[in-house]
């Protein structure tokens, strides 16, 4: 008598004449298998090519410029018999990826050949971060590694207690000058010295409460953000905190539980909570600026900055542009086709007016964001009035 | 789908406690135990208070006992004892519980051919404990005399059981086993009817094993008691 599925109803989209529309540059399918595990994957780019990996073990370099046939869109493609779970990170002419078998591999940017690889203690879960002459990454069993950029030898490593059950994936390691900032599944943010790996300070922004193991998950999934010399962190079942990077004291702490990446500009902080409600807070004081519940329960993805707007994706294949001042939806475009393929948008990379999208069905698409003909038409109208006023 | 079964129970929900109770006692009078049980159970579920509930516990237990379901009768009575520790009918509850436990291995054949002593000892022990609990708690209750009689009968039954086993081992030439079983009777059931036979079996077993010291001592005790046993 009662339906068994337990996914709450998404809020329906309000019709909107979107000023933007997507013009597809090129489209490459990486693998037919649905991509189940893409938390740790990410685009990286240089001026000619875009690099992305797929959990089935492919790493691929794609030309940014549109080539006529999709096959020569692919500059090179490397295949590993292990699952690639993190990366690729571009550093110089090396591409760094982490695999499920605990291997950190460095590939040559030109042809994807293996330069060196190091066996770590377990699955390399967080995207390798390169700073100075060291690579920083984390394994799923709670170890933080600093390795030598040239040959991948381990410089230092330290261990941290990690709860048994947590959300899949973990945030990137953030390195600023000699400070290494890392956020753990136990809801703790730590700062270590980049040279020795010695712990400088440690603060907790989420503490497990509730009695079932699900309620006790307190992961920090969203990537840490450093803005105007202040560190920002968002915990699941935890808080949004602004932290002094030198000693770990809180500037402000806000009640917000979320696991998607948040973004900051010089005035405000924009984040989405676990139910998909967008919120903005003042960068300095944390005072709430606006709240936008239009995308509640629409499985909102990570936030990105697109010019002076926010860009986010939802679970039904839509991309939304939201105005940063009042949080009103400015534009909307559909990535998935009518069969529902591409509904799950995993990763988006913004490069000026161009977007690169990786979706759950293993498709990588490059779009140019162009004004929709409706807005062209309106512009002409506006143009005529201006001309009219001008005359 | 839950709406369906609530439809059927509708009439019960509306019945008052008196309806249930009268239907139950009517069935109780003309010995339709299952109908009585059904009504009492419903009464307890729908009206778990008041004097009706208290009284229905006892009558329900009696119905179960008569319906030859001693285990559920005992369960109802123990619930009654827990809920109403100071109830005036408490002696009756204890007595009925003992009766139910006693009826587990009794069968109509016992009057002529079979002897309950040859069967399951555990239920006899349960009945024995329930009866003694009744006598300790309510020594002056009107059931005390009937209970003490049953106690003696049960004690004898248990002693007979021991003796039958001892005799069995004696016939299998396991004389040490039969001697120890006979000892057990003398220690645990000193006043049972079969003590004389037990003593005799003990002496024979010792004699068969050539334990002269034990044998002579046992024979002494036997002669000593001979006079006393003959007299009463």
């Amino acid at each position: 008598c009662s339906s068994n599925a337990n996914i709450p109803e998404p809020t329906p989209l309000v019709p909107l004449e979107s000023p933007y529309s997507l013009h597809k540059n090129w489209e490459v399918s990486l693998s037919s298998l649905p991509n189940l595990d893409a938390r740790g994957l990410a685009f990286s780019e240089d001026d000619q090519a875009v690099y992305i990996a797929n959990s089935e073990g492919y790493v691929v370099a794609l030309h940014k410029e549109n080539r006529s046939r999709w096959t020569d869109q692919v500059e090179w493609q490397a295949r590993f018999d292990e699952h690639v779970v993190s990366g690729p990170t571009l550093s110089g002419d090396e591409l760094l990826i982490g695999t499920s078998k605990g291997m950190l591999k460095a590939l040559s940017k030109e042809n994807g050949g293996l330069l060196w690889q190091t066996q770590l203690s377990s699955e390399v879960i967080s995207r390798p971060t390169v700073s100075g002459d060291k690579i920083y990454t984390r394994t799923v069993d709670g170890k933080l590694y600093a390795l030598n950029l040239k040959d991948g030898s381990v410089v230092w490593a330290n261990e941290n207690q990690v709860p048994k059950l947590s959300l899949r994936g973990s945030p990137d390691v953030l390195v600023v000058e000699d400070y290494v900032f890392v956020a753990w599944e136990s809801g703790v943010v730590q700062a270590l010295s980049a040279i020795t790996g010695e712990l400088l300070w440690e603060t907790r922004i989420a503490s497990p409460k509730g009695r079932t193991d699900l309620e006790r998950i307190v992961d920090i999934q969203a990537n840490l953000v450093m803005k105007d010399n202040r560190l920002y962190a968002l915990g699941f079942h935890g808080k949004l905190a602004s932290i002094n990077p030198l000693n770990g004291d809180f500037y402000f702490v806000k009640n917000l539980s979320g696991y998607r990446d948040f973004v900051a500009d010089d005035k405000a902080l924009y984040a989405v909570d676990e139910e998909g409600v967008l919120q903005a807070f003042d960068l300095m004081t944390g005072a709430p600026l606006w709240k936008q519940a239009a995308f509640k329960q629409r499985l909102v993805g990570d936030l990105h900055l697109y010019g002076d707007q926010l860009l986010l994706s939802d679970g039904w294949g839509y991309l939304h542009w939201v105005n940063k001042l009042q949080g009103i939806e400015y534009a909307r475009a559909k990535h998935s086709n009518e069969y529902g393929e591409g509904d799950r948008i995993l990763k988006v990379m913004v490069e000026g007016k161009r977007l690169y999208v990786l979706d759950g069905d293993g498709l990588v698409t490059s779009y140019n964001v162009v004004p929709s003909n409706l807005s062209l038409f309106r512009a002409e109208l506006a143009g005529d009035d201006k001309k009219a006023d001008a005359e | 789908c839950s709406t369906l079964n609530s439809l059927i129970e509708k009439p019960d929900a509306e019945k008052s406690v008196e309806d249930f109770y009268s239907a139950a006692t009517l069935a109780f009078k003309n010995k339709e135990w299952d109908v009585a049980i059904d009504n009492y159970e419903k009464l307890k579920a729908y009206f778990p208070y008041g004097s009706y509930a208290e009284q229905s516990y006892l009558e329900l237990a009696y119905a179960y006992y008569k319906y030859d379901e001693p285990k559920s009768a005992i369960r109802e009575l123990e619930e009654f004892i827990r809920l109403y520790p100071r109830h005036k009918e408490m002696p009756y509850a204890y007595y009925l519980r003992a009766l139910a436990a006693d009826s587990v291995t009794r069968s109509w054949l016992d009057k002529f051919i079979t002897d309950p002593a040859t069967r399951d000892k555990v239920s006899a022990e349960n009945a024995y404990n329930f009866y003694s609990e009744l006598i300790n708690r309510f020594p002056q209750s009107r059931y005390a005399t009937a209970a003490s009689e049953r106690l003696i009968a049960l004690r004898n039954q248990m002693a007979r059981n021991e003796l039958k086993v001892a005799r069995f081992y004696y016939s299998k030439q396991a004389f040490l086993a039969s001697a120890n079983r006979a000892e057990y009777i003398l220690q645990n059931y000193p006043r049972a009817v079969v003590t004389a036979e037990a003593l005799e079996l003990l002496t024979d077993s010792y004699q068969k094993m050539g334990m002269d010291v034990n044998e002579s001592h046992a024979r002494e005790v036997y002669q000593l008691n001979q006079g006393r046993l003959q007299s009463n």
Binding site: D141 | L83, T118, K164, A177
Partner: protein
């Protein structure tokens, strides 16, 4: 103030006296602050009341005002299918939530948490539980437990890190959880399954020499929508070890070379933990066979890291020899104590012998009087043990009675009783009396398996049968018999026994008019024969249960002959039957039976008298064919009947897979079998022709009902002739098999 009178307000379910029993003070006592607090606290602790208040009315009466907590009238459950309703009900009972119990909100949260934890444990992370309570008149409340289970988290990926020696594929094939399960719930995640799988990987390595194998850590991570689970198991294999030396310390009681034989591994072998565990178990069992039931056998391995060898030392501590003090028998509500005790091979006041206890268990199971029988030991002191024999009775016979009316043979009544444990005395009684106009028969037999304390059995029986053939035309001939039967048997060993039989029989052969063959026989050998028949048989039975044996061997060879000179038609018969049971899994077993029976006349009759012929067909021989329909048939013109003739040589064999009935929990007294029967009957030895053998296959059901063993079968003949009369469905009641 001093309390003279106590009044109680608001207590209707809980009576006044009950409340008084909880009061910490008596009337006439001074009630100070401490006492009032204690009273309130005590009354709350009972859990009966929502709130309690004490008021002082005029100067000396105390009023206790209580508001009772509502009691639960009805509990409804909705949306639960992973945990079915009665399992849920038991869970609620254990948490104190039952019809009629007191309802308090505190319990509700505790129950929600517990139910949620049960679901999370099974991987239903998205499950939600709500309890809606609905007020009812008379301070009662209806509870509705609303469960939305959602989808169980399926396994996204199982990731093994650090397994260099054994590949992912080899290890993953051994795990319960798998990434893609075609059927069943292999791909559903649950904590117990994860722990079991980790243990499987650990013991796999430990059994292949990796003594230092360690599971470093295991992480479980959940996709954002809580439907996919990713499992990472990090392990450190360590080097492979071989055994350098094995020594035994302490008093091993059993001679050294026998101990060596018990241990399967020796110097140089790859170390295997399970081999060590088995060896220790076998040694401990061997010691308890010597009477040292509490012996301790403790293996200790010292790792030699350089050359990767292990020095294994097994410390044996026999402790004291154990004796049996008393043997109690429980659960025999019908069977007599000595009927069970005489089957036991372990005596009281005797050394404990595991062999004897095991034999006793087997004999109890073979007795067939009990649904289940077990012998447990209860420790009484450090050198004495009591044995408790627990049995559960079951019907051991069949009973039928009835009145029949048919136009063919008028009014008739019959009574049929066959009881293997007559009123619990262990004696076997068969009593069948049936009388109708045309047919009168009676068969009474009593056997006492323990006529002597050591198991010499004695049995006697009387039988009488008179059929008025022309009334019924079922057969072309009938035999009216009257006679006495005696049987005596005794065991030769634990499993073999021998039996002798004597039968005094007087028989009249009545042929139906058209059956000329019968008349020729009568003219040659005469109508009635009186004979004395002797029989002797040897049998072996080492099966592990009476009704549905799944293990062991059953053989019986018997020889039956008419004493020469006592009858004109003297014949002899030889039977040889062999059945063999092999357990395939815990409740599936393979069964193979074969039987050969041969009979021949001797003296002045050259072949087996036709009324003594064997027949084949139907249940008990080759199913799927009409009963007794196989083999040659009389020639209608020559012999005056076309019925099957039967024959002097009967060869039957059957093999079957026996399994319990799926989908019902207690299938202890019912079994299904997929069988393959083959066999036929021939005139005599040289008439045997394997091409003539008939065969069939099908599904058999055997069910032990309170009225008696019932078996029926659906069979499809496989090798048959077009002339054979087949019968797909057949059933019999009361025949042992």
């Amino acid at each position: 103030f001093v309390v003279d009178k106590i009044e109680i307000e608001g207590g209707n379910r809980i009576s006044g006296e009950t409340i008084r029993t909880y009061l910490p003070f008596r009337t006439g006592q001074n009630l100070d602050g401490r006492l009032t607090r204690e009273t309130i606290e005590r009354l709350y602790k009972t859990g009966f009341f929502k709130d309690v208040s004490l008021l002082q009315k005029d100067d000396s009466t105390l009023v206790i005002k209580v508001v009772e907590r509502p009691s639960i009238a009805e509990i409804k459950m909705e949306g639960n299918n992973l945990i079915d309703s009665d399992a849920l009900k038991d869970a609620l009972d254990s948490l104190g939530l039952k019809k009629g119990r007191i309802y308090n909100q505190l319990d509700m949260d505790r129950i929600i948490i517990d139910l949620k934890r049960r679901y999370h444990n099974q991987g239903y992370y998205a499950a939600s539980v709500e309890i809606i309570s609905e007020e009812l008149p008379r301070n009662r409340v209806d509870l509705k437990i609303k469960i939305v289970e959602g989808e169980p988290a399926t396994i996204g990926r199982i990731n093994l890190v650090g397994n260099h020696v054994y590949s992912d594929k080899r290890l993953k094939s051994r795990l319960q959880m798998s990434e893609n399960a075609t059927f069943g719930d292999g791909d559903k995640y649950s904590k117990p399954k994860l722990e079991a799988d980790i243990e499987t990987v650990k013991s796999y390595y430990m059994d292949h020499g990796y003594a230092e194998f360690k599971i470093l850590s295991s992480q479980v991570s959940l996709s954002d929508d809580k439907t996919k689970v990713f499992i990472t198991i990090n392990m450190d294999e360590g080097p492979q070890y071989t055994i350098n030396s094995v020594q035994f310390l302490g008093d091993t009681i059993v001679p050294q070379e026998e101990v060596e034989r018990l241990i399967t591994f020796k110097k140089g072998d790859v170390f295997s933990r399970s081999a060590v565990i088995d060896g220790v178990k076998d040694l401990r069992e061997r010691l308890s066979e010597e009477g040292y039931a509490f012996a301790e056998v403790v293996p200790d391995s010292k790792l030699n890291k350089e050359n990767r060898t292990i020095d294994l030392s097994v410390k044996v501590e026999p402790k004291s020899r154990v004796y049996i003090r008393r043997i109690e028998i429980e659960g025999n509500t019908r069977t007599r104590d000595d009927v069970i005790r005489r089957e036991l091979r372990q005596l009281e006041s005797a050394p404990y012998s595991l062999k004897a206890v095991r034999q006793s268990k087997e004999r109890l199971a073979r007795l067939g009087f009990f649904k289940s029988s077990d012998i447990q030991s209860k420790r009484v002191s450090d050198d004495e043990v009591d044995l408790v024999v627990k049995v559960e009775e079951q019907p051991t016979g069949s009973f039928s009675a009835g009145v029949t009316l048919s136009q063919l043979d008028g009014l008739g009544f019959n009574i049929g009783l066959s009881e293997r444990n007559f009123i619990g005395s262990g004696n076997k009684l068969d009593l069948n009396i049936a009388t109708t106009d045309a047919k009168k028969s009676a068969d009474i037999g009593l056997t006492n398996p323990y006529f002597t304390p050591d198991g010499v059995s004695l049995g006697a029986g009387f039988y009488f049968r008179e059929i008025n053939a022309d009334e019924l035309d079922i057969a072309d001939y009938t035999t009216n018999n009257l006679g006495l039967r005696f049987s005596m048997g005794y065991p030769l060993s634990e499993t073999n026994s021998i039996n002798y039989g004597l039968k005094l029989d007087s028989q009249d052969l009545v042929c139906s008019d058209s059956f000329t063959y019968c008349h020729d026989y009568v003219s040659e050998y005469g109508k009635s024969t009186n004979s004395v028949q002797l029989s002797m048989g040897w049998s072996h039975n080492s099966t592990n249960s009476f009704y549905f044996p799944s293990k062991g061997l059953k053989t019986s060879l018997s020889f039956e002959a008419v004493l020469p000179g006592t009858s004109k038609a003297s014949f002899y018969k030889v039977y040889a039957d062999q059945s063999w049971f092999y357990p395939l899994s815990e409740n599936i077993s393979l069964q193979f039976k074969a039987g050969i029976s041969y009979g021949d006349g001797y003296g002045d009759i050259s072949e087996l008298p036709f009324y003594e012929n064997f027949y084949v067909g139907g249940i008990g021989s080759v199913r799927g064919f009409e009963p007794n329909s196989l083999g040659e048939r009389y020639d209608l013109t020559l012999d005056g009947s076309d019925r099957p003739k039967g024959g002097g040589l009967k060869t039957v064999a059957t093999t079957g897979l026996v399994f319990p009935v799926p989908f019902i929990e207690d299938s202890s007294n019912i079994r299904l079998s997929w069988f393959f029967d083959v066999g036929n009957v021939y005139k005599d030895l040289d008439a045997f022709d394997s091409a003539e053998l008939r065969a069939s296959t099908g599904l058999g059901v055997s069910w032990i009902t309170p009225v008696g063993p019932l078996s029926f079968s659906f069979a499809q003949p496989v090798i048959y002739r077009s002339t054979d009369r087949t019968q797909v469905f057949q059933f019999t009641l009361g025949v042992g098999f």
